[in-house]
């Protein structure tokens, strides 16, 4: 078993499509093979974490060999590894890819190109999640931007030209700011390598000086923040997702965007001392910005009139909770972040897919023009209600497990953190306001359900059809099933994530 196969399967599918094999079947079979293989990898994951030889520094299935040693440039190695933090994300990626390619009609214009670009996005995301070398971590993500640009630009709707350009330029800016942070980390750590594990080992011996940490912190926060659509750097996201074809929105909002959060967990937390002065200085900024995500963007979401735009804003809003989880700096809270990344990825992908389906079937995306569609489309209505409830955080669905752990983590820190009397008050206010966000998300989610699916059915939609065959329904069933499964048995993800996070935090400080 090798992690390389996870990258080679999409690559092989891309080559087959280039060689004029029928695009959709190849893409679906490729994605399905990768999905199955990712489950097999999970099955081979050593959950006890005890078996010695297979595990290197807490990572399993490690592949590592030197890649590039240019004179003067820190060593770059090709280093892949799986642990409890990225394994769920790999699973998320293969699941969403499978759903995205299989719900795209084979008759879409310029079909071979479309499927190639979606698979390239999947490849970029998988590579970024698996890489344990900052160079590859960075380039796999950056490289996925071009297919995103083309997908939105060629197959998008409405204002696609502007949206694709805005999204790409904004994300490029974020990547380059991030590059500044990465270079600072690599060069100032003194490790003379781009390898994340080696840098962490080096920093465990000699931590970065306070001034260095002061400089690196905002670079990483803004760099990753732009990629995650942290308030106020979020403006690229809603418009971009609203214009994107459903498959691209699913892949980006569901999977690629998680790269930023994952990066904070993988790079920023272990390398910058969380009990140090730099973290303490910048953390209140993070609190304010995450409240911006939850409250400001939350209220903006309520005001939206178009379904895809509303979903775009809502996906931005939920990023606030992931930042809250990071700000808890508590083992339970961080485990919740991993859980929520997967859950949000699945629910966002589900909702974007349905929004695309509705727009395609009715030719309408304004919510007040729609209505009563549940009568004509019971399956889509069920799926939409389930997805919305998941994103609100209904118990029994995966998002609930993530959010509740984040709040528990936050209160853990307030109660048991190293606070003197009264010092925990600001954080407590942040948490209470963030919990209010759940009410906001319930308002807009339920309103959209009632506007789109209930009420009177306009005459013109009397003939609108639901998804009828199993083939059409399968991608939605897949996403819903995984949401439910993880909602009832979150330990599939949390137990491994908990283990890896405790190892990382224990080793990092």
């Amino acid at each position: 078993m090798t992690l390389l196969l996870l990258l080679l399967i999409p690559l092989a599918a891309i080559f087959l499509i280039m060689l004029r094999c029928p695009a959709k079947p190849v893409a679906v079979w490729g994605a399905a093979a990768n999905f199955v293989y990712s489950i097999v990898m999970m099955g081979g994951y050593d959950t006890t974490g005890s078996a010695g030889s297979k595990i290197i520094d807490g990572y399993q299935f490690v592949i590592k060999y030197p890649w590039l040693d240019l004179p003067g440039l820190p060593l770059i190695s090709f280093h892949l590894g799986l642990d409890g933090i990225n394994a769920p994300l790999v699973f998320l990626c293969t699941t969403v890819t499978l759903a995205a390619v299989s719900l795209t009609p084979a008759t879409i214009k310029r079909a071979p190109e479309f499927f190639i670009y979606v698979l390239l996005m999947s490849l970029g995301a998988l590579g970024a999640f698996l890489s344990l070398d900052l160079f590859f971590f960075f380039i796999f993500h950056e490289f996925a931007l071009i297919p995103t640009f083309l997908l939105i630009g060629i197959w998008g709707t409405q204002n696609r030209q502007f949206a694709s350009m805005q999204l790409t330029l904004y994300l490029t800016l974020g990547s380059l700011v991030l590059l500044g942070g990465i270079l600072a980390l690599v060069l100032w750590s003194g490790a003379n390598t781009f390898d994340i594990v080696d840098i962490q080992k080096q920093l465990a011996n000699t931590a970065l000086s306070e001034t260095d940490q002061f400089a690196i912190w905002p670079l990483l926060l803004v760099g990753f923040g732009i990629l995650i659509s942290l308030f106020p750097f979020h403006t690229w996201a809603p418009g971009g997702y609203a214009c994107a074809p459903p498959a691209a929105a699913m892949m980006h909002a569901g999977v690629l965007k998680k790269f930023g959060i994952y990066g904070i967990l993988r790079v920023a937390m272990p390398c910058l001392d969380p009990s140090g002065a730099a973290w303490a200085y910048w953390e209140p900024w993070l609190w304010v910005l995450l409240l911006g995500n939850v409250l400001f963007v939350g209220y903006t979401t309520v005001a939206q009139k178009e379904l895809p735009l509303m979903l775009g804003f809502s996906s931005v809003m939920h990023m606030g909770y992931m930042f809250l989880g990071i700000a808890t700096f508590d083992l339970i809270g961080l485990t919740g972040v991993v859980m929520l990344m997967v859950a949000h990825g699945l629910s966002a992908a589900l909702l974007f897919a349905i929004a695309g389906e509705i727009q395609q079937r009715t030719g309408e995306n304004r919510m007040d023009q729609l209505g009563g569609l549940a009568k004509r489309m019971p399956f889509l209505a069920t799926a939409f209600v389930l997805g919305s409830l998941a994103s609100v955080g209904m118990p029994g669905l995966a998002n609930f497990a993530g959010e509740i752990m984040i709040f528990f983590g936050a209160f853990n820190r307030i109660n048991f953190g190293a606070y003197e009397a009264g010092q925990a008050v600001p954080l407590m206010i942040v948490v209470i306001l963030a919990i209010w966000g759940i009410v906001i998300s319930a308002i807009y989610s339920l309103r959209s359900i009632s506007k789109v699916f209930f009420g009177d059915l306009p005459e013109r939609y009397a003939e609108v059809r639901d998804l009828e065959t199993f083939q059409e329904r399968a991608p939605y069933i897949l996403l819903m099933a995984v949401l439910l499964l993880l909602g009832f048995v979150p330990s599939i993800i949390t137990s491994n994530a908990h283990q890896s996070l405790s190892l990382m935090l224990g080793g990092g400080s």
């Binding site: 440039l73 350009m165 380059l176 500044g180 600072a184």
Partner: protein
């Protein structure tokens, strides 16, 4: 003295003379001359590739001719550029009315001049080689005499080229007057020994400044860039490619020679030139990339973007000619950035030369829907532009990464952030062209035929872009000697 027999300058000149005589006396067709030029250049490229640089380098004629890693790197660079330029001239032939054979022969003389430049160890030899390059370029830029834009470009290039030579020669006079020598190593010896003191320091720094101004014209760095857009737009496309790749790299090799070999690490002068180069780098990156945004002509846009790329290379030069651990990385960065620029730029210009039309030549709207007319051309140009923008997994990204790392290592933080802003602006206009090619409606749906040999050339450059972006061991070999020679 083995070097004298395999020195490419000699063989390029011989080849040029043979082809000129052959054209005059045997009456072979101009196209055959062109094919001979391509094959001959390819042979010379291989010979230069195989010739061995003695460790530590060697000098001839009392130090005025240097044969070291830097020289070999740049010679290969120039010969390869010339090879591709002649190759693409074969398709451009129809655009030229008369005297077609000289169009293939003159680039050989330019290449000989550039190769000599890469080995110059003396201000005089450097000046003579540079004039050989520049004067031959005057002819080539104005080659399409029936096209007004070409004539205008020729005149502009002549006047500004003359001006820059005047600056250079004036600067050389100052340096000679104060140090008593034109030889780089002797100049360095005088400066390092501290013989220039008190009131003589400022005039010498002024001389260096004038030399740098002259070089600034060659690399088209702001504020000495004003000639570039008009000349690039007006010149025949293969010549534009030669100017933007070869001539620019020629400017960089003499910049490196003057800064590293003649003025070296002498802190007193580094204070002067480093400030000048920092300003030039920042201004070039910003102006080049911002001014490229509103351009509606692809060649003009590439001209502005090439000004921006000069700014990026200058960061590497600053690190290379600076002190401390950044030196090694600076050499790597300059080498890799130039290689990536060479491949991507030539690829772009080959495609521009094929797509060129008589009316409104090279306007970006001619490229609308190119994807439907020729997937190869659209795909190739997209790869070139993506590499110029610095997006992985192309070699352009490795170039940008090494330059950015060098900036960080050399503590040039302000240049790093200006570079970031410039790179984002670069994305905007490069992707704008990609957008036009891939999803605008074509004005004309007729497929564009591509000759098999050019098809091969395009594929070769595309493959090189990705292979060097992925398997960078090749880059390591290419720049190794360059870096070692400048440590």
């Amino acid at each position: 003295m083995t070097v004298l027999f395999d020195a490419p300058e000699i063989w390029l000149t011989v080849l040029a003379c043979v082809l000129l005589l052959g054209e005059a006396f045997t009456g072979v067709r101009s196209r055959t001359i062109g094919q001979f030029a391509v094959v001959g250049t390819a042979v010379i490229f291989v010979v230069t590739l195989l010739s061995v640089v003695p460790p530590g380098g060697a000098t001839y004629w009392s130090g005025s001719y240097i044969w070291d890693g830097t020289a070999q790197f740049f010679k290969l660079f120039f010969i390869f550029t010339s090879l591709v330029v002649t190759w693409m001239s074969l398709t451009f032939e129809s655009q030229i009315d008369e005297n077609r054979a000289e169009f293939y022969v003159l680039p050989l003389l330019i290449t000989a001049g550039m190769c000599l430049l890469a080995s110059a160890g003396d201000f005089m030899l450097m000046f003579v080689a540079l004039e050989l390059v520049t004067i031959t370029f005057y002819i080539l830029v104005a080659y399409q005499r029936q096209v007004r834009a070409s004539l205008e470009a020729g005149v502009k290039y002549l006047i500004l080229g003359g001006l820059s030579s005047a600056f250079l020669v004036m600067g050389i006079a100052y340096v000679y007057g104060l140090t008593g020598s034109t030889n780089f190593s002797l100049v360095f010896g005088v400066i390092q020994a501290g013989e220039i003191t008190g009131p003589s320091v400022l005039p010498l720094a002024f001389g260096l400044l004038l030399v740098l101004v002259g070089i600034g014209f060659k690399i088209a760095g702001v504020p000495f860039h004003i000639w570039a857009p008009d000349v690039y737009q007006g010149a025949p496309t293969p010549i534009t490619a030669f100017l933007s790749v070869g001539s620019k790299a020629a400017g960089f090799v003499i910049l490196i020679r003057v800064l590293v070999d003649a003025f070296g690490l002498v802190q007193l002068y580094a204070n002067y030139w480093s400030l000048l180069l920092i300003i030039m780098a920042a201004a070039s990156m910003l102006l080049g990339n911002l001014a490229a945004i509103p351009q509606r002509n692809l060649k003009r846009m590439l001209a502005y973007s090439s000004i921006g790329h000069s700014g990026f290379v200058l960061i590497g030069v600053l690190a290379l000619a600076g002190s401390g651990p950044a030196r090694e990385l600076g050499g790597t960065a300059v080498g890799i950035y130039l290689i990536s620029y060479l491949i991507a730029s030539l690829l772009a210009f080959v495609i521009v030369a094929i797509v060129t039309q008589k009316e409104s030549p090279d306007a970006i709207h001619n490229y609308a829907g190119l994807w439907q007319r020729s997937p190869l051309l659209a795909g190739g140009l997209a790869v070139a532009l993506i590499s110029l923008a610095g997006i992985p997994p192309t070699v352009g990204f490795v170039g940008k990464l090494t330059i950015f790392t060098a900036a960080w290592e050399a503590n040039l933080y302000s240049l790093f952030w200006i570079g970031v802003a410039a790179a984002v602006a670069g994305f905007y206009y490069y992707l704008g062209v990609v957008k036009t090619m891939f999803w605008s409606k074509p004005l004309d749906t007729e497929p564009i035929p591509v000759a098999p040999s050019l098809r091969f050339l395009i594929l070769l450059l595309v493959v090189a872009t990705f292979v060097l972006g992925f398997f960078t061991t090749g880059l390591q070999v290419m720049v190794g000697d360059l870096v070692a020679a400048n440590l």
